[in-house]
Amino acid sequence: MAEFWNGYLLPGILILAQILVLVVPLLLAVAYLTLMERKVLAAMQLRMGPNVVGPFGLFQPWADAVKLMFKEPILPTGANKVVFVIAPMITFILALIAWAVIPLGTGLVIANINVGILYLFAISSLGVYGIIMAGWASNSRYAFLGALRSSAQMVSYEVSMGFVIITVLLLVGSLNLGHIVEAQHGGFWKWHWVPLFPMFIVFFISALAETNRHPFDLPEAEAELVAGYQVEYSSMSFALFFLGEYANMILMSAMTAILFMGGWLPPFEFGPTAGVLGALWGFFWFFLKIFVLLFVFIWIRATLPRYRYDQLMRIGWKVFLPLSLIYLVIVAGFVTYWPR
Amino acid sequence: MFVAKDLAPLVPELFVAVSAMVLLLYGVFAKGNPTRTVVWASVLVLVVALVLVWQVPAGRQAVLSGMFVTDSFTAVMKSLVLIGSAVSLVLSVGFIRQEEMERFEFPVLLLLATVGMMMMVSANDLISLYVGLELQSLALYVVAAFRRDSERSTEAGLKYFVLGALSSGMLLYGASLIYGFAGSTNFTDLAKLFAGGHGHVSVGLVVGIVFLAAGLAFKVSAVPFHMWTPDVYEGAPTAVTAFFASAPKVAAMALFVRAIISPFGALVAEWQQIIILLAGASMLLGAFAAIWQKNIKRLMAYSSIGHVGFALVGLAAGTSEGVRGVVVYMAVYLAMTLGTFACILAMRQKNGLVEGIDDLAGLARTQPGMAFALAVFMFSLAGVPPLAGFFGKFYVFMAAINAKLYVLSVIGVLSSVVGAFYYLRIVKIMYFDAPGEPFLHPMPRELGVVAAVASLFTLLFVVFPMPILNGAAMAAKALFP
């Protein structure tokens, strides 16, 4: 019995607790990210934004959640029921399980696996299934068109993202996310965005495309596809897509922060490095970086018009892919002939 | 680990592969239609590669962790492959211009297929065998469907692709069984394992060899894995058919011989019956099924099935003499096939190419030169002495008789008698039937040259057989250390 308790139950409970500690704040962050987006957009467009529910509209996300929960879930008659229901779940689950390998500080990670970055890449490449399944199962032309666009777009941008990740891998020599962050020790000029500046830009733009955000939000283009793959969804199934999209934004920001902006490392070597204080200090910087990147996401949405589909494909295949390939060769040359 | 020295035997392959990529880039960026330039440049590349093949370090060299081997067998077979590819390219020059196939990817794909064939010939490991085979096959599937607006061409490509994928599956299954039961994929290691014939051979290994042989038999189109051949030969553009019938056949046969003899040479008793069956069935089917053909490309397909059967007789003997027979046979077969296709490609009337056998009627009166050349090839294909085809058959049957394969030899002789019927029928149609619509007169110069050289080779083989015979003997010796 003791063996069962020590060997299985205790670690099980521990892991469960870790997951809850990570996921609950994450969902809160997602909820307030929607509010932040509306507020920032409003500010940029000289409006007030939501300000009725609670002080400064702070309870708006809760109101939205309650509203969505009480809406009627609609299953279209022509829909492929099982796939239709599974699709939003897949989107949402994928957005959450990726966080298992994101390190929040030295050793502060649920699963410290050797191929962490590949895991993230794999999970983000699966994101397309939620969309394509939703589009097909809806049995609607708009939804299907959105799904087709989305799958082509995500597959195209994954290619150059993969090459960007390889350049980081070449500099670090490990696929472990913790090692990647630690390799950037020593102030913000040691972060990877300096040697890999073009790749940093490529990665961020690809992240926009991977999350189907503006200016690459063709899959859901309200103007032409009336919200694309989401058009037939309502109630909580719609809410899951919505939450998934925003969770993916946070995930992509976290990835960018880890790969190029030193993760939890402060920009100058100061402040506590060990103990609880050190962990909190690390949290602070990590969250600040994610926050800044999310702000850029929203800023871009407020600023740029939507790309045309052929322009999107041209950038992906004719600009980013050759650029990242060439840069990969250059980085490999530097690593070989000027080892650190 | 590899070093520069390891790459020396690889120079011809590297040269062809790099040139193919350079030509691809040139084709993409050149102004206008670069096809003609790329075709002739590709021919030049193949000729240079032919020189390079004989410049690699002499003797047996197994490099790159034993996956790639060069010896006199590979040198001879690669030379045949390169000649086959280069001549097919020359034959295709006029064809691709007239049939709206003039795109620079065609020669580039042929070059890459040639790299695959050279890799096949030099394979010394089941994995490198597979990689080379796939490189060649994939390029062939594409060129079979190259005229993508023609239904027949796309059908041929698709059929070839689907059946080719199936045969690759069989081959891989056999290879994995062999690996599982023997513990190595390397031919040299396998040969060491079986040398001396100690211990029993597990049944699983034999099944593996059977599957491997089935996969390879598909690639050389031996009965009962021949079904794709007539349809693909008929459907593919004629210049592509000429290519299919020449270089890939030689390469696949070389691969067949090496993959059977080199690792499993000591297990003759286990695989001999398979090869005997393949050879006998191919000879018989090649002889009988061709009788009723009206389309000359289809006829050549059945003819090639039959000739593969004859060549396999040499392999069935399992001796050095037999392998020498195979090499001689493939050299002779290459010359006859290329010459025949040079004539077929010249069968152009006002409304385009024709492929019916009856269209040859009275050719002797309208174009005596072409008729004579075609007659020489037909006599030689039938195995009439003293033409080259006779000697090809002679050496394989000698080997078979020395290996006491009497039944197989009798089947071979009988089926060549039957085969002679339809070859001679063509000669009869050309010389004794009333002429129909004549072909557009002058045979294009490159076709004429190829036909003339090939018919000279076929005619004069009896006078100067020694270079070929010595080369073949040298090649065969390399497989039996």
Binding site: S125, Y129, I132, V155, G162 | V131, L138, Y179, D189
Partner: protein, 205 residues
């Protein structure tokens, strides 16, 4: 260890089950989705074996890219399955017979000699322990040295596949307007806009 065992049987069972559903599902899209599920569970089995790199690559390449395009095509195809299955009944007994014969033969052969006594002992080839070398390092160390020939050969195969796909599908269409972004950027204000002074009631000449 019991957790690993349970996980193994779970993933293995799902893999086999979904593989079976791939060939029996009525709807082709469902078939592809089950195929993806099978890939996914195969990746999980790789993780259980300690082959984490292969597992991730399996997910990224097969699930993330190949299967997406496959699904893409299958969704767009308009296949009438009733028609497709018409010949099926007719050939079923024949196919089953051949399959059964082959299966029996293979079982007879393999059952008699599972342990190959004359094998060259491939297991003896030294595989470093998982705690010393990561998967990625171990693969990288042989892939670009010992197996460089096969690696480059496979690269050539992919090149041929790419050329083939382009040759067989790419068509130059005439009369299609193409965007020339350099020309757009190079355009100056003077070429595009002309300022005119418009007098009241006159209009532009």
């Amino acid at each position: 260890m019991i957790v690993q065992a349970i996980a193994f049987y779970l993933f293995a069972a799902v893999t086999v089950g979904s593989a079976f559903l791939v060939i029996t599902a009525k709807n082709p899209v469902h078939s592809v989705l089950f195929l993806i599920l099978a890939f996914f569970n195969a990746a999980a089995l790789f993780v259980l074996m300690g082959a984490e790199f292969i597992a991730m690559i399996l997910v990224i390449v097969y699930v993330g890219a190949v299967a997406v395009l496959f699904l893409f095509v299958v969704m767009m195809l308009d296949i009438n399955f009733v028609e497709l299955r018409q010949g099926f009944q007719q050939y079923l007994p024949f196919g089953l017979l051949i399959g059964a014969i082959l299966l029996v033969e293979l079982i007879l052969i393999l059952a008699g000699s599972i342990a190959a006594p004359d094998a060259l002992a491939p297991a003896a080839s030294p595989a470093p322990s998982l705690d010393q070398v990561t998967n990625t390092h171990a693969l990288g160390a042989v892939l670009y040295t010992k197996y460089i020939y096969l690696f480059q050969g496979a690269g050539l195969v992919l090149l041929v596949a790419m050329i083939g796909a382009i040759v067989l599908t790419h068509r130059k269409r005439e009369g299609v307007k193409k965007q020339d972004s350099f020309a757009q950027f190079a355009r100056r204000r003077e070429e595009a806009v002309e300022l005119k002074k418009v007098e009241p009631g006159q209009g532009i000449q």
